[in-house]
């Protein structure tokens, strides 16, 4: 519409004005015209000035109209021209990139698949838009999904690509057409980019070479009726037996108030089913799903809702997530400074947990320790670890009621480094020798804790704070503090648990810390009960009651009640969750397309968790058919302790990557990860037309965006990109309709005004 209006008034396309320069082609007569116009202007001024019947305002208006008209005529007599560089016919190349991905099969283009438009407009060189291009340019057609490959025309497309990588496609086409007189690139797509890499990088290259991209958007920006699993956030790894609380976002349009069933499958076995009523106004529904992962190894969890009547796309009704479930014992050191029942009941709570091992160092008196759950006679024989190597062998550390003065300065720093550098989980429990009351204010440990410690603010000795604990909003939605089957039941359960006590004054939490449990104290302020924060590579927690064992022992708690056990089991598992090993492996993605290359990195550190750049690191990759390949890994040189490797994932299926690091003949450690080579369903997610993205691509590179079916000016616009083999064209501007309209308008205005003021 804008284009047509512009052309109606200005005769030429906006692209020509954008690219060209306006110059004056004056001739001798132009200068004569100046004199004539000057006389005419003077006459007009004098004439209107003499009109005694006119007011000053009328004279001014009429004079201005007359002068404007005369100046416009004068401007035309100076012959304004638009100088543009136009592509020489058939001397330039245009790259046409056609989206060959599966999302092009979606039938939202007037009931027809998006692919139909591509076939019609770009299916043959002698028809449709492709013909108009071929008439003026040498056309190179590419199809693209993950990358771009040459084809003759759109007729060669199958629309089965499992990815849409706009940036990679543009880069590949640019590379292939390098050295040719390229007028520009035309990209026909729905714009639903599935690449991880930012599009900006690819556009930068095109901008640097001034290659304009003309984008043609296919499809609709919204689907009338669609439901999709919008987002599922799961951890990459989990300890066997862990209960995960996964937030599943169900996005929808056109199904307000509809009830759907959300199923979760673990390798084909349904592990959760729940009814969800979709909210009104097309809003997405966020559904918390509890799943316990109790099978070791790589597990594919499938979240799905059934296809509903009238849905255009049902392939986006399920989404998969990979979790590497690890079956191992995570060792936690619990250092307790005074005999109290908290230690006994905490240990009992996780006795049955095969994946969490609590080693307790109980100080019973001065320099007198009781070691519980140690693996050998030497473990902790000298008390609390004195070296980083010894302390860092644990993955979690629980500090009970033990005063800061019982540690050396170096041990306090070690504890801070345990969190910060080693990435361990630190849990500080309440007690008369903990927090400020234990003298931790101002120590390195205080820096790590999620609560603010002030040496001047201490609880009076003998005064206890009685707590009726309840979850905060964050706590209600957290898996750690869920003590019943559903969020509502869990909140209810917390409200019925017996009260506990605390003896530490805690007035503030750190910025960035999250309170999961709290309780109103005597002054009705919320006393923090369970708080956590990330610190460096690790996490730090404060659990402030001194007697959570009451949740187990209290007379109101039935013998078979597992609330206390579940709470501690969940909390301790969280403390050691994602705590790194000496060797850690990361793959670029947990799923790759069959035939693509997997890039993976390994982070290698010594027992004190100092990065090693001189380790010998090898990866053993076991493919789906059992084929084993050794991949040597080299230090990346980019980051301390980081080693890189790649392998091709040719066949479909699971690949196990086992990284082993040695140094000077000594084993440093091993790590195992899994990657799945399988076609992805990503194409069908958020698969609406991304006009905004395509418009930005065009604007950033100096091209234009067209809606499908509205590409009549495409060939013309490409002609005036100013690139390739061009010739200079001059276009007269004086006969533009806008000039005539202005002249007539000015004359009419003057005549009309004269009539109004009573002049002939």
């Amino acid at each position: 519409m804008f284009e047509a209006l512009f052309r109606f008034f200005f005769e030429y396309s906006p692209a020509m004005f954008a690219q060209g320069d306006i110059r004056w082609a004056a001739w001798t007569g132009s200068f004569v015209a100046v004199a004539v116009t000057a006389v005419a202007i003077a006459a007009a001024v004098v004439s209107y000035r003499a009109g005694a019947r006119l007011s000053l305002r009328d004279r001014l208006v009429l004079t201005t109209l007359r002068v404007a008209m005369l100046l416009l005529v004068l401007a035309c007599l100076f012959r304004p021209v638009l100088v543009v560089r136009a592509a020489v016919p058939q001397q330039n190349v245009v790259g046409v990139l056609l989206d060959d991905s599966r999302s092009m099969q979606i039938a939202d283009a007037d009931g027809q698949p998006r692919a139909s438009y591509v076939q019609t407009a770009f299916g043959a060189l002698d028809a449709g838009t492709l013909k108009t291009l071929a008439d003026r340019f040498t056309v190179r057609v590419f199809r693209f999904s993950s990358t771009a490959t040459r084809v003759t025309s759109g007729a060669d497309l199958a629309f089965t690509g499992t990815e849409t990588r706009l940036g990679a496609a543009l880069a590949a086409a640019r590379q292939e057409l390098a050295g040719l007189p390229l007028a520009g690139l035309v990209m026909v797509t729905d714009g639903a980019d599935t690449a991880d890499a930012a599009l900006g990088d690819a556009l930068l290259g095109l901008k640097a070479e001034a290659v304009p991209v003309f984008t043609v958007g296919v499809g609709r920006e919204t689907l009338d009726k669609d439901i999709q699993i919008g987002r599922v956030t799961t951890p990459r790894t989990a300890l066997k037996g862990t209960t995960l609380l996964v937030d599943v976002v169900i996005a929808q349009r056109g199904f307000d108030g509809e009830a759907v069933t959300l199923d979760v499958e673990d390798e084909g076995r349904i592990v959760s089913t729940q009814k969800v009523t979709l909210p009104a106004g097309g809003s997405p529904a966020t559904v918390p799903v509890r799943i316990t992962v109790d099978e070791e190894g790589p597990r594919v969890l499938r979240f799905r809702v059934p296809a509903l009547a009238g849905e255009l796309v049902s392939d986006n009704n399920q989404r998969e997530a990979l979790i590497d479930v690890r079956d191992r014992r995570e060792k936690i050191l619990y250092f307790e400074g005074e005999p109290r029942f908290e230690l006994k009941f905490l240990r009992r709570a996780v006795t049955e947990d095969q994946n969490v091992e609590v080693v307790a160092l109980q100080r019973t008196a001065d320099n007198k320790y009781l070691r519980l759950g140690v693996d050998n006679a030497d473990e902790l024989v000298a008390g609390f670890p004195k070296t980083r190597e010894e302390l860092f062998s644990y993955r979690g550390l629980v500090l009970g009621s033990i005063e800061a003065g019982s540690f050396t300065g170096d041990q306090l720093r070690m504890i801070a480094e345990f969190v910060d550098r080693r990435g361990g989980g630190l849990l500080a429990l309440g007690g008369p020798r903990a927090f400020s009351e234990g003298g931790y204010a101002g120590t390195a440990v205080a820096d790590t804790l999620p609560v603010v410690l002030d040496a001047n603010l201490r609880q009076k000795e003998g005064e206890v704070i009685r707590l009726a604990v309840k979850p905060t909003r964050a706590g209600a939605a957290s898996a750690v503090t869920q003590v019943a089957g559903t969020e509502a039941a869990s909140v209810e359960r917390w409200s019925t648990l017996p009260g506990v006590t605390a003896v530490n004054r805690l007035d503030a939490i750190k910025p960035g810390a999250t309170v999961l449990l709290s309780a109103p104290d005597a002054s009705r302020r919320e006393y923090p009960v369970l708080v956590f924060q990330r610190y460096g590579r690790g996490k730090a927690f404060a659990f402030t009651p001194q007697d959570s064992w009451v949740w187990q022992m209290h007379a109101s708690i039935p013998v078979e009640d597992m609330t206390h056990e579940n709470f501690w089991r969940q909390l301790l598992r969280w403390v050691v969750d994602e705590v790194p090993d000496q060797v850690e492996i990361r793959t670029s993605s947990d799923r790759v397309e069959p035939g693509s290359t997997v890039t993976f990195t390994a982070a290698v550190a010594d027992k004190a968790f100092l990065e090693l750049n001189d380790a010998s690191v090898t990866a053993t990759v076991t493919g789906p058919e059992g084929a084993v390949v050794d991949v040597p890994m080299a230090w990346s040189g980019e980051k301390a302790g980081e080693y890189k490797g790649t392998f091709p994932a040719a066949a479909q299926g699971w690949y196990e990557v086992k990284v082993q690091a040695t140094r000077a003949g000594t084993d440093v450690g091993t790590a195992v990860s899994h990657v799945r080579a399988a076609p992805g369903e990503q194409e069908y997610f958020d698969a609406t037309l991304r006009a905004g993205t395509l418009r930005r691509m065009a604007e950033d590179t100096g091209g234009r965006y067209y809606a499908a079916g509205d590409t009549s000016t495409l060939a013309d616009d490409l002609r005036y990109t100013g690139r390739g083999v061009t010739t200079v064209e001059e276009h007269e501007l004086w006969h533009m309709p806008i000039v005539l309209l202005l002249l007539v308008g000015l004359l009419s205005a003057e005549w009309g005004y004269r009539r109004v003021v009573g002049l002939p």
Binding site: E338, P339, T364, T501, Q552
Partner: protein, 235 residues
């Protein structure tokens, strides 16, 4: 505040005249408090459950606080029945003269839940010949599937604070023996109850500051008491 309604007509050597002892409770604040279990039975003017109260109870608390970092009430303690809900706030309980122990259903149920949830009970001041059968019978009412096991010195309860390397000792009523009940009858699991057969540790605790008892024997008695409490707090 704890309310102690307690009348005692003085000490005359090792004999005493107890008129009345009411149940008493400390104001719970997280510290360790000794619990003396009160039951029906025995002589009404000198009930067996109350023998050595309160000096034994308080002396043991003081010793525990003095030798270890355990915080106790020192001069306050509890007298509770087995069906008192507040018993659950004190996971170590002491019963004197279980030979006279009688039990109703509510008490049996209270003790059963207490032990299953993590409580620990000490039986003291009884003779094997006269009292063991009653203790065995009452505990069978509470935990019918559990069997008493004679403990040896290698058990962790004898090393939780002091190292007690031999259990061969002359008890108050003859050669002593220490028997226990284990969770699931598995001696590798938690000890739920300990019985000081033919012994009366409470007697030694009570009179340890008078000079009437040999110091060595008093010390030995404290070792058992301290170890029982520390064990119950850690196992």
């Amino acid at each position: 505040m704890a309310c102690v309604v307690f009348a005692q007509e003085g000490f005359r050597g090792r004999g005493r005249m107890i008129r009345e002892i009411a149940s008493t409770k400390v104001d719970y604040d997280g510290r360790f408090a000794f619990v003396r279990l009160r039951y029906q039975g025995g002589f009404s003017r000198d009930p067996g459950w109350a023998h050595d109260y309160p000096r034994a109870d308080w002396h043991l608390q003081r010793i525990i606080e003095d030798v270890s970092f355990t915080r106790t009430y020192r001069d306050e303690s509890n007298i509770l029945t087995l069906d008192d809900p507040d018993l659950s706030l004190y996971p170590v309980a002491y019963m004197s003269e279980p030979g006279f122990w009688t039990l109703n259903e509510a008490e049996a149920s209270g003790l059963r839940a207490y032990l299953q949830k993590g409580g620990f009970i000490i039986f003291d001041d009884f003779r094997e010949a006269r009292d063991w059968a009653n203790l065995q019978g009452r505990m069978a009412d509470v935990m019918p599937n559990l069997r008493w096991v004679t403990l040896d010195a290698s058990h962790p309860v004898f090393h939780s604070f002091f190292d007690i390397n031999t259990l061969v000792t002359e008890g108050y009523y003859g050669p002593a023996e220490f028997r226990g009940l284990f969770e699931d009858n598995d001696p590798r699991k938690r000890l739920l109850a300990v019985a000081n057969v033919n012994h009366d540790l409470g007697e030694f605790w009570e009179f340890s500051d008078t000079g009437w008892m040999p110091v060595d024997l008093s010390n030995e008695a404290y070792k058992y008491g301290v170890n029982y409490v520390i064990y119950a707090m850690t196992h």
